[in-house]
């Protein structure tokens, strides 16, 4: 394979591997900007993946599957909200708990319902989101450089991929150009001030957590019924945590979140490509280095060596109205 084909193929899988990160990191963005830490992104993604695969299998309709995924993810969000907003519990403990519940429940229910060791049955046809071939692919394909990029990277993805990229400017607009967004950011920095202005901190934070659940529904559905054609146990495989890392890496800003997700997706794609290949002069690079790199980079960033990441000031602190 010549060099350019390799680049195109790696870029193609970079896009595919970034999408679940992107939805999830944006979900975390809304939650954390409102002052609610969300370690439970991983669990929501996993639960949504399972639910979407089940619904899509039963109904044979990918859109209903997506709806199922979103609903379950919203339920998880509500539990997280109930624990951390209404009961003022520890947000991290709640997130950790929900991750376990999701990890266990998806396998227990999957085995009980389908008896395939935690897998859901294979989806066919309308049950999953098929790749969309954009217009003029055949015309442009032979144009050097732009042609293959258009045909293999930009075209040929499923609808959720395009929605993910559309969600980035939309999130930016909501967070930075609407009244809701302004209040949401304010409640993450200084909930007392928001309360003084006569706006309900509780309701605002619940809405933020629900937006997070909504977006995690998309990432779960992407894993199970767009990228794959079934739910496989533990299929989120730590992606929720990588998304969290991407969110921190992007310093809680929507457009940088996209680039961070693309970077971490690229590392993943590159690791897959490098598996078993030798680099001239160095020899075979262990694939574990690429697996660990997103986490190492995030730690270096957190240490303040690549600029400083300021988390929302009121993050993780429950708001008490009266004392």
């Amino acid at each position: 394979m010549d060099f350019f084909d390799i680049v195109v193929s790696i870029l193609g899988s970079t896009i595919r591997l970034s999408i679940p990160l992107l939805f999830t990191a944006l979900a975390g963005l809304f939650s954390e900007r409102a002052g609610i830490f969300d370690i439970g992104l991983e669990g929501k993604m996993l639960a949504a993946a399972f639910a979407s695969a089940c619904v899509a299998y039963v109904t044979g309709n990918a859109w209903l599957g997506l709806l199922g995924g979103i609903s379950v993810s919203l339920v998880f969000s509500l539990i997280h909200g109930f624990a951390s907003i209404t009961n003022r519990g520890n947000q991290i403990v709640s997130g950790v708990a929900l991750n376990f519940v999701a990890a266990g429940l998806t396998i227990v229910l999957g085995q009980a319902w389908f008896g395939q060791g935690g897998r859901t049955p294979q989806l066919t046809g309308e049950g999953r989101f098929a790749p969309i071939i954009l217009p003029f692919v055949d015309v442009v394909r032979d144009v050097p450089i732009i042609g293959p990029l258009y045909a293999n990277v930009i075209s040929g993805n499923n609808i959720l991929t395009y929605l993910a990229f559309a969600a980035v400017p939309l999130s930016w607009w909501v967070l930075f150009r609407t009244r809701f967004g302004l209040r949401l950011r304010a409640v993450g920095e200084n909930p007392g001030a928001v309360d003084t202005a006569g706006i309900s901190v509780t309701w605002l934070r619940y809405r933020a957590v629900l937006v997070a659940g909504f977006l995690c529904g998309f990432s779960g559905a992407y894993l199970a019924i767009a990228q794959s054609a079934a739910f496989i146990k533990d299929m989120s495989a730590g992606k929720g945590y990588i998304a969290l890392a991407a969110l921190i890496f992007a310093k809680w800003k929507p457009v940088p979140v996209m680039f961070a997700c693309l970077l971490f997706g690229f590392l993943d794609a590159f690791a897959n490509f490098m598996q078993g290949k030798a680099v001239p002069g160095i020899g075979e690079v262990p694939v574990q280095i690429f697996q660990a790199l997103p986490y190492i980079l995030t730690c270096i960033l957190l240490a303040g060596f690549i600029g400083i990441a300021h988390p929302p000031k009121a993050g993780g602190v429950p708001y008490t109205k009266e004392r």
Partner: protein, 367 residues
Amino acid sequence: MSTASVPLPNWINYGLIPLLNLIVAFFISGLVVWWIGENPFTALRLLIEGALGRGDAVGFTLFYTTSFIFTGLSVAVAFHAGLFNIGSEGQAYIGGLGAALVALALDQYVPWYVTMPFAIIGAALFGAGWAFIPAWLQAKRGSHIVITTIMFNFIGAALMVYLLVNVLIVPGKMAPETRTFLPGGQLPKLDWLMALFGAKLGPAPFNVSFIIALVMCYLVWLLIWRTKLGYEMRTLGISPSAAVYAGIPYSRTVIIAMLISGGLAGMMALNPVMGASARLQVEFVGGAGFVGIAVSLMGRSHPVGIIFAALLFGILYQGGADLSFEMPNITREMIVVIQGLVILFAGALEYMFRPALVHIYQRFKRA
């Protein structure tokens, strides 16, 4: 009126509230079992029989309990200093490297009781080492310990796979694991202890690490409630600003608390690595680090509570394995669901019943 500031007697705070939370967690677990079409009461009976019914079952239960005591203590020590160490899993994993290196180096020359102290130190040092960077980042650079310890779990997992696949593997073998330790690098089983109670241990790997775990419980109690350092840690945990105002060095206390926490997590590795499989394997921790979170929350970060909570989870792990054998519809992962629900209700929703209890308590007091 807010009910948060009304004081309640200790038997409600430390007895009734945790009990209520636990009951709700198990009630919901029962609902899940019922939902998938099995009888929750039969499941509970099978689970308890599977965990406590025979000598070897008790041996396995206590084997799991041992691991959970270590990780529970690890989470608890950090908790007292106001730090949430999610990294016990990774610290235990790296601790296994320390224990295994000691065992590999000494097992040909000395008997196990000479190897053991070095292995304890090795495991603790490696575990503490893995906790050091997140601790330093928290203390000096202000990065959130929860995030960094999560990251270090993943980095540790990648590192260990690399070492086992490329460095420590026995040449010519396929399995990514070290060679089997000779008896000089193994911790002997406690079959004599079981024999005292008239039970046979059989193949269960219940071993000397259990005693080490109990000693650590005592030492942690001593540290937290009977030393200056423990007092400083608790002060920091309750109010960092008050601690700093009182002249307690913030960075030093944070780092030392995390080193102790990591060391305890690292020692957990003695149990599976030197007490059971006699070799270092990929993913030998198997989630015990995360169980430690549930154990610590349930045990209210007190060593005695931790022993009971660890025993409960030991029963769940061993009984759950047996249950999935008897009722194939209920997979082993049911334990993970229960674990999650326990963390949710005993941790995040810990005060859910408090307002109601305050009302009932006040009514009774007035009457």
